[in-house]
Symmetry: C2
Subunit: 328 residues, 2 copies
């Protein structure tokens, strides 16, 4: 049985870390949730944050690459928003330092929400009369701005935490919480060396991040295997695409494995359809190991024990535009 | 002041009529809500009923014509689902007899959810393990079928009622519920003759429907005015497009005016952007009248009093696909 009490087995905190310059408040969270669900922040009026990061699902869209306005697709898979507050940086390549910085990206991304610029997005928000009082409640008077939009969304995202997975209950002392197979998988996950990258309470190595920028690792680390070509893993150079630095070629943020059973397909390009294949790929590309089919199944069972409880949420009411529409 | 106690001023019932062959149950409503929000019922995995009939908004999408998978558009505006249970028939042209019949249409409509056929949609539902037990709870064992999918969605839609609008409170005796302007508008709405079509508790003439098929009226009735060309009102022949009968040319179901302030743009083609212009159009095309600007504003204020209370709802959790995705 896996040894407990070691640093590597940590339960998910019930609260996410909150930056000093963006304290949480009920009004801010409610505003953030409302913006998060509002498709009028897109050029067509059809795409909201929740379109690609569906909190009714695993916080993603279960697509290989996401689909934004006019059916346009990018080249990356949508990561989950659930527990994204525990990431040391945001995006597959960690190019945003935090949720506040991240939240300004999608609104103007041409294959996502495709607003002309952030000013246009803020104009849209201003044109919806009900938003102004919500900003006032959250940030004080005259506070409709892109920074506060991003702050509110980030505050809402910090509430998206899924505690009490079977794994968490086990780690907290409930010895019945995991099945025998899940326990074997937990041991195999450790023995194989997965924990060397997927460590800490969110299994994203955030605890090992040295510079506040997350734990970045090369992927694929071992390229001499059929997976690399089959799944086209070298097409996207990862962090180097953002930084332009040779040292960042094929460097990727270690992603969380929380709720990973719900976020198929897998990897930055969404090329791997099933979790068992993702485990095989990891063992080979990151550790140069071949797992037995039994080990793969056990690890998959263990990863299933990382599916937490999704807090019940009420549907926000999006403020209306009485007698007119802001969608062109 | 408008005379009360007359048949034409009726409050919205708190319950919608329920057909004998589809009784309501908590399990059925929950299943229906889950299906209603599930984008995996579309070919791309991105479009749910709620995409076009957003219950967080006015039950529509605030677009001129709706946008389905791959950004495709049809030629009709999305009507609200709120209070659609009070319609005597469904669609602008009433071509579906009830909500059950209606619910099977969008899933396979190529510009909406675009599933190849209903069997494909049912296969998708079967491939999501969590749905089977929900169907069993709602309909008994072995009950995953297109009819039950439609029944569940219809049951959920029958809960989408917005009571207690200022108008309802006024009709029920609260003399303070309407402003002086709204009362003038109510009187003007009656005097102008709007009530001859927009009658009954939902202002959709359902009470006048003779054959269970809703109240159908010609639109435009008077064509000798600039609006007809400006807004392209003769391009779509309405009910005749579905029935092929000359008698149905330009016949349209009288739509509800409940929450109409939230459902811009207006008319079957979504060509009129504002409610004040919609009122001007109606007066001219249906009654051959020119209203004064004061009358228009008063009627708009009255129509604003038809915005009801939106019951708080919890976000459904969509059942997951552990370790795989059903989206191609
Ligand atoms: C059309 C799809 C789409 C929309 C809309 C969208 N996203 Fe994303 N999101 C993505 C994709 C794809 C990525 C990964 C991109 C990358 O890493 O280069 C991503 C990344 C993220 C991340 C980083 C998560 C992590 O683990 O690194 C967060 C947080 C996030 N999005 C939140 C949002 C918010 C908030 C909105 C709305 C303001 C939004 N997204 C709108 C597709 C979308
Ligand atoms: C050397 C670092 C490293 C090791 C060791 C490692 N991983 Fe990973 N893992 C990563 C990185 C980086 C990614 C993201 C790769 C990408 O998509 O670009 C990842 C992605 C994943 C994913 C896909 C996550 C998603 O949301 O798509 C799974 C599942 C996973 N790892 C499981 C494992 C398992 C199981 C092991 C051990 C057999 C393991 N990892 C070992 C670094 C590592
Ligand atoms: C891509 C947009 C889109 C999607 C998705 C969509 N609808 Fe619709 N819906 C429309 C449009 C447009 C109409 C009007 C079509 C017409 O009248 O010819 C309509 C009509 C209706 C009506 C009739 C309302 C009335 O007042 O007559 C109901 C009820 C309805 N839809 C419910 C649903 C349900 C349930 C789903 C999912 C199973 C759904 N819709 C999916 C766009 C959409
Ligand atoms: C002779 C019947 C008739 C009369 C009289 C009538 N209406 Fe209508 N009304 C309709 C029909 C039919 C439609 C739907 C037309 C279409 O879009 O195809 C409609 C649509 C509307 C709409 C747009 C609803 C929407 O959701 O797009 C509004 C607003 C409206 N009517 C208000 C009024 C007002 C105000 C009056 C009086 C000034 C009035 N109506 C008189 C039959 C009538
Ligand atoms: Ca940081
Ligand atoms: Ca994924
Ligand atoms: Ca409309
Ligand atoms: Mg019937």
């Amino acid at each position: 049985l896996p040894t407990l009490g070691q640093a590597e087995w940590q339960a998910l905190p019930e609260q996410a870390p909150v930056p000093a310059d963006n304290p949480m408040s009920a009004a801010k969270i409610e505003l953030g949730k409302t913006l998060y669900f509002d498709p009028r922040l897109s050029s067509t009026g059809t795409v909201s944050c929740n379109s690609c990061h569906n909190v009714m699902l695993g916080g993603d869209d279960n697509r290989d690459v996401s689909m934004g306005v006019h059916g346009k697709t990018g080249n990356r898979n949508a990561p989950t928003v659930w527990n994204s507050a525990f990431n040391a940086s945001q995006f597959w390549d960690g190019r945003a330092a935090d949720l506040e910085e991240q939240a300004k990206g999608p609104v103007t991304n041409p294959v996502e929400m495709a607003m002309k610029d952030l000013d246009t997005a803020i104009e849209a928000i201003r044109a919806i009369p009900g938003y102004e009082p919500m900003f006032t409640q959250a940030f004080g008077p005259d506070s409709v701005s892109e920074d506060n939009m991003a702050r509110a969304i980030a505050a809402y995202e910090r509430t998206l935490i899924t505690p009490n997975s079977p794994y968490d209950r086990y780690v907290k002392g409930d010895r019945e919480a995991l099945t025998a197979q899940q326990l074997r998988g937990m041991e195999a996950f450790k023995q194989a060396g997965c924990v060397s990258c997927h460590s800490g309470p969110a299994f994203n190595g955030a605890d090992l991040a040295r510079d506040g920028g997350g734990l970045f690792m090369k992927f694929p680390l071992f390229t001499d295997n059929p997976y690399v070509e089959r799944y086209d893993f070298m097409a996207d150079q990862g962090r180097a695409e953002a930084t332009g630095k040779a040292a960042d070629e094929y460097m990727w943020k270690v992603p969380t494995l929380r709720n990973v059973a719900l976020t198929a397909p897998y990897f930055h390009n969404g090329s791997v359809k099933t979790l068992d294949e993702a485990v095989r790929v990891m063992a080979k590309t990151q550790l140069n190991q071949e797992l037995s089919e039994q080990q793969v199944e056990d690890i998959v069972a263990f990863l299933g024990a990382l599916t937490g409880e999704f807090p019940e949420q009420s549907l926000p009411r999006l403020p209306g535009t009485p007698g007119f529409t802001i969608i062109q």
